[in-house]
């Protein structure tokens, strides 16, 4: 909008500043509540051993199925009640946050690193390297996520490491696909040619010139995937092909109460609500980050 001063005479003048009153631009407000919820979950996960009143994995059968404190028969020792084995649900929720967060952070990070490397290499080197890498990417994307996750974990054996591994295997192509496109565009810009003329090696150009330019995209994708990963891990654990008992994973806890819906709703619903809350907060944060930093990704 400042071009009119500097533009040569007779040049078409810049469009006058218009007040935007319509169009599809809905700006989302910063999601304070979501940040609060996620911050709380992180704190709880870090300090779980300090806060938790009981042992997460061992309970006393004499304490089994105590309802939450606000219900009749509740006990202030067990704020959110106990499960069939007499374990304190509040404690297990706290420790469960550790599992969810660990999987979410590690899987997001590893998938992001792997996908970014593949995407950068494919976008920068082109040729057969690109063809091979992108074929693998497309193949992986062409498979149904949930189904493949279930089968892979089932084949490899249900464990925390395998759940992580499988999620990374299935999610890296999302980064690779997006990053490749951007690396492709950036490597055609003039400053990359300049860097080449200046004698910079290809890996160096990738590292110092292209990577910093795709960082925002990586960040946006990562934020968007956190919720998906938490949901995926919870679903796997719920189905019995995720994190094995007695580890307090939220999905597993929901499954524990599956047959107790009539008698002890809290066993399933309290961890269920925890998953719901975290996923909701992560989703809202993801939407905001995407809108704020990379509107191109709106369709994702």
């Amino acid at each position: 909008m400042t071009t009119s001063e500097s533009a040569p005479p007779g040049a078409p003048r810049a469009e006058a500043p218009r007040v935007k009153v319509r169009g599809a631009a809905t700006t989302i407000r910063f999601p304070f509540v979501s940040m609060l919820v996620l911050g709380l979950v992180v704190l709880v996960a870090v300090f779980a051993p300090l806060i938790a009143p009981h042992d997460p994995e061992v309970g006393q059968l004499s304490n089994k199925l105590i309802p939450p404190v606000w219900q009749e028969g509740g006990n202030s020792d067990f704020l959110l009640g106990t499960d069939t084995l007499g374990r304190d649900i509040f404690t297990r929720i706290l420790y469960g946050a550790r599992v969810s967060l660990m999987v979410a952070i590690l899987a997001t990070g590893l998938a992001g690193v792997l996908g970014t490397i593949v995407g950068l290499i494919a976008g920068f080197y082109r040729g057969w390297v690109e063809i091979v890498l992108m074929r693998i990417t497309d193949m992986t994307l062409a498979l149904p996520l949930m189904l493949m996750a279930i089968v892979l974990v089932a084949l490899l054996g249900a464990s925390l490491t395998n759940v992580l591994l499988v999620i990374v295997i299935l999610l890296w192509p999302y980064y690779a696909r997006q990053i490749r496109g951007e690396a492709l565009a950036i490597s055609e810009e003039d400053f990359i040619d300049l860097a080449r003329v200046a004698g910079l090696s290809s890996p160096r150009i990738l590292w110092t010139h292209i990577l910093p330019n795709v960082m925002p995209t990586i960040g946006v994708l990562a934020t968007l995937q956190v919720a998906l990963i938490i949901l995926l891990e919870a679903s796997l654990s719920f189905l019995g092909v995720g994190i094995p008992p007695p580890t307090p994973a939220w999905g597993l806890m929901v499954a524990d109460g599956r047959d107790l819906l009539g008698r002890a709703w809290w066993v399933s619903f309290i961890p269920g609500i925890a998953i719901f809350g975290v996923v909701l907060a992560a989703n809202l944060l993801g939407d905001w980050v995407r809108d704020r930093f990379d509107p191109k990704l709106r369709q994702l």
């Binding site: 009119s4 005479p9 006058a16 218009r18 007040v19 935007k20 009153v21």
Partner: protein, 329 residues
């Protein structure tokens, strides 16, 4: 008079405040006459045109006052249902970009037929004949075969002719053309303008032609209205305004046009920025950019000066002149 617009006001409610996009616009138009509406983008030309059809985007935008009379009928008092009969029937509008204004999902024939079906109630072969007729009238060769084509299968010039056919299909008495030629190249543009003139001869509709291009105004328009910040700051016959512009803004615009004979496309270039129509200061909105500004210009809004037959100016230079010239008249 075919069309009489008096003191038309349109406001947009935005987060940053109320925008007076059209702030007291008045003009009139006869059958067969062409009015050129010129001004920078954002000056309120397009909003004024849409307001004539009562198509200001709700809920942000609202027509808050004034009067629009077509053949003596007050349009602002009509019900939405009655207004739909006017739209496309008595008033038509050609939008700027023929590619985006035609629906990519329907055939050309379907889109031209729609207005005819709505307003004239034709069906079947009569409808089809009518579509072919109007397409031929706007100079589309082999109209019959074009019916089944989609917009993207046509050239830009052909698409704009289709847009023209849609606008004229129900023989409107008023045609508004909102920069219809900006996206066309020079030769196609010239052909299109000639076509519009011919059709106007034939159908005798009144035309409001919105443009940036003063060359087109000189060739096509009988009268000119210069808009600035939601107001018409000067209006008069094309000859008057081109020969002896009264408002400093109009002078500045015309200074960018070396000669009337020049066929080169000229864009309006006046130094400085047009004001944002939020919280306009008192006084003349052109004052900050005006080379002939006086003390009073920043204090009070100029009264309208009528300096001749259908020639009016909103400027203190002439408000005074009017008082002085009164005894002479």
């Amino acid at each position: 008079m075919l069309l009489e617009v008096t003191d038309l006001r349109v406001q947009f409610h935005t987060r940053r405040g109320v925008v007076k996009a059209v702030d007291g616009v008045s003009f009139s138009l006869d059958r067969g006459e062409t009015l050129g509406l010129v001004g920078e983008s954002g000056s309120g030309k397009s909003v004024s045109c849409m307001a004539l059809m009562r198509l200001v985007e709700a809920p942000a935008g609202r027509i808050v006052g004034g009067s629009v009379r077509l053949d003596g009928q007050e349009l602002l008092d009509l019900s939405e249902r009655e207004m739909r009969q006017i739209r496309g029937g008595k008033i038509s509008l050609i939008l700027q970009d023929p590619l985006s204004s035609l629906n990519p999902g329907y055939t050309v024939g379907n889109q031209v037929a729609e207005a005819i079906r709505i307003h004239q109630g034709l069906r079947g072969s009569a409808l089809r004949a009518s579509v072919v007729e109007i397409l031929s009238q706007v100079g589309i060769p082999q109209a019959e075969r074009r019916l089944k084509q989609y917009p993207h299968q046509m050239s830009g010039g052909m698409r704009q002719r289709v847009a023209g056919a849609i606008a004229l299909s129900c023989r409107p008495s008023l045609l508004i053309a909102d920069e219809p030629t900006t996206s066309l190249d020079a030769t196609v543009q010239a052909q299109y303008l000639r076509l519009l003139s011919e059709l106007q001869e034939e159908f005798r509709f009144g035309m409001i032609f919105v443009t940036h291009d003063l060359g087109i105004v000189a060739r096509l328009c009988d009268r000119v209205a210069v808009m600035y910040a939601g107001r018409i700051v000067e209006t008069g016959s094309t000859r008057q305004i081109f020969n002896k512009p009264a408002h400093p803004y109009a002078k500045a615009l015309l200074a960018t046009l070396p000669s009337l004979e020049s066929r080169k496309k000229r864009l309006l270039t006046v130094s400085g920025q047009p004001p944002l129509a939020i919280d306009l200061p008192p006084g003349c909105s052109f004052a900050p950019r005006c080379p002939e500004t006086m003390d009073i210009c920043t204090e009070e809004f100029p009264a309208e000066a009528i300096t001749g037959d259908r020639h009016r100016v909103l400027c203190w230079l002439h408000s005074q002149a009017e008082e002085m010239s009164l005894p002479v008249r």
